[in-house]
């Protein structure tokens, strides 16, 4: 256990990435785009405002507890407008901590409104928490010359947001492992259990039910990539592969189960396909850093 925890450090270290200078430039661009896509995410949500008009069972959770003295429709109107203004200002003034804080507040209020009908809206959690972490970015966007320590702070916060995104997949993967339901028919049973509840007909919904054994290795593969996702935070050479694997997972769940996680897809693509920490290197070294199989391969072949 001590050995495993000892390996949970970024390798190479942040100092290495500070020295090369490339990572900082990339991370800054990604943060900038992160705030731009918040406008798009807000647009996608606000266009569905009509769904709030006659929704049953509004029971405010703690971030929206202030709404109790106001009429339901004025709360819906205010929070939607505040959300739009907050993310637009966040996108324009993302270089300033105050604007990033305001964007977080807008996202928090909107997400809390979405989650005040008896069930939290899971898809927005990654947006909520990454926007929270980005408040801690040092205000270095406008500086002509940035000190090494400020660069390191910036990369640290950025890494924290990446690690959070990977952590949630690991948590999901670990719980799948602990459930013990990953036999040959597990995926077929999941699909058969899920589709009648949502009453949708996804493009490839019947395939895992008709050919469970064919899909089993893919299902096990996804559990592997989910469970060890957090490992990619510490071994950046794996980030692109993990990003692609988790994106494939989302496309798979969309095609087979009609499950939509658009915010996750945006964030995975943005944070991992061109990760600031990704390095070019020998494919063999990259494969050796895969958890379990890489370690095993290294023992046998190296």
């Amino acid at each position: 256990m001590k050995k495993i925890i000892g390996k949970l450090t970024l390798s190479p270290s942040l100092d290495y990435f500070v020295k090369t200078g490339v990572a900082f430039g990339k991370a800054k661009s990604i943060v900038q785009f992160y705030y731009y896509i918040q406008i798009f995410i807000a647009y996608l949500h606000v266009r569905n405002v009509v769904m709030f008009y006659d929704r049953s069972g509004f029971s405010p959770i703690w971030p929206t507890s202030w709404t109790q003295n106001f009429s339901y429709m004025s709360v819906v109107t205010f929070i939607h407008l505040f959300y739009i203004i907050a993310v637009v200002l966040g996108a324009i003034f993302y270089k300033y901590k105050g604007a990033r804080g305001l964007a977080f507040l807008g996202i928090l209020q909107f997400h809390a409104l979405q989650s005040s009908f008896g069930q939290p809206y899971h898809q927005m959690y990654p947006v909520l928490f990454t926007s929270f972490l980005f408040i801690f970015l040092p205000d270095v966007f406008k500086a002509v010359k940035v000190s090494n320590i400020d660069t390191k702070k910036f990369l640290l916060v950025f890494w924290g947001a990446q690690a959070y995104l990977l952590l949630i997949y690991s948590m999901s993967g670990v719980l799948k492992l602990l459930s013990g339901d990953f036999g040959p028919e597990a995926f077929a049973l999941q699909v058969a259990n899920w589709l009648p509840m949502i009453q949708e007909k996804p493009l490839l919904g019947n395939l895992p039910i008709n050919y469970p054994y064919f899909f089993w290795p893919f299902y096990l593969g996804i559990i592997y990539f989910q469970t060890f996702a957090i490992w990619a935070a510490f071994r950046p050479q794996l980030q692109k592969i993990w990003g692609l694997a988790l994106l494939s997972f989302h496309f798979g769940t969309l095609l087979f189960m009609a499950i939509v996680f658009p915010e996750n897809v945006l964030l995975l693509a943005l944070f991992f396909l061109n990760s600031p920490f990704q390095q070019s290197g020998r494919a063999r070294d990259m494969l050796y850093s895969f958890p379990l199989f890489g370690w095993l391969g290294k023992r046998i072949f190296a």
């Binding site: 049953s56 948590m171 999901s172 990953f182 259990n193």
Partner: protein, 172 residues
Amino acid sequence: MVDWFSYQKSLTAGEKEVLEYKILRFLITSFLVTYFLAGLYVFRFEGGEKYPFFSWNLFTEAPREKTEFILRIQRYGDVVFEEPIDHKEAFKRGLIRGFETPLVFHLRVQDLGRSIKAGNRDRMSFYRMLVEDGFKEQPVEYEILSIYYHTLEYFRSGRIQNQDSLGVFTSK
């Protein structure tokens, strides 16, 4: 507290920056560890979550057999159904409003069924109110049933192995 301020004052600008970095590193690490531990903790709550923490317990179950609750509408406003329709069919026919998706309505029916089965009157009244609020016309006479089925067979043919009525209700 005083010691902390005097300690900070004694530091050079460079040392202060290093200290700030270490504090930030501690905060980020604490955030990640707390989120992970809180996720494990809230796993025990209904749905595996307590806002804003979530265990990410999604699609972990692959049940071969399943017991769930259905709501079967017998009378909807002035219309009497000779063959009662279940809540999924009712959603399809546009008889339910105020629920974002069929899944959300289905989950509320499960909540109602669970509360009836547990004999929890307060929760039952709450979930009855939520569910009945979703009917576009009133009054609605409906039955809550507990059904048991084999997952794959139910998916392919809709065949139910067993069913138990938990009661017939009329919305106001």
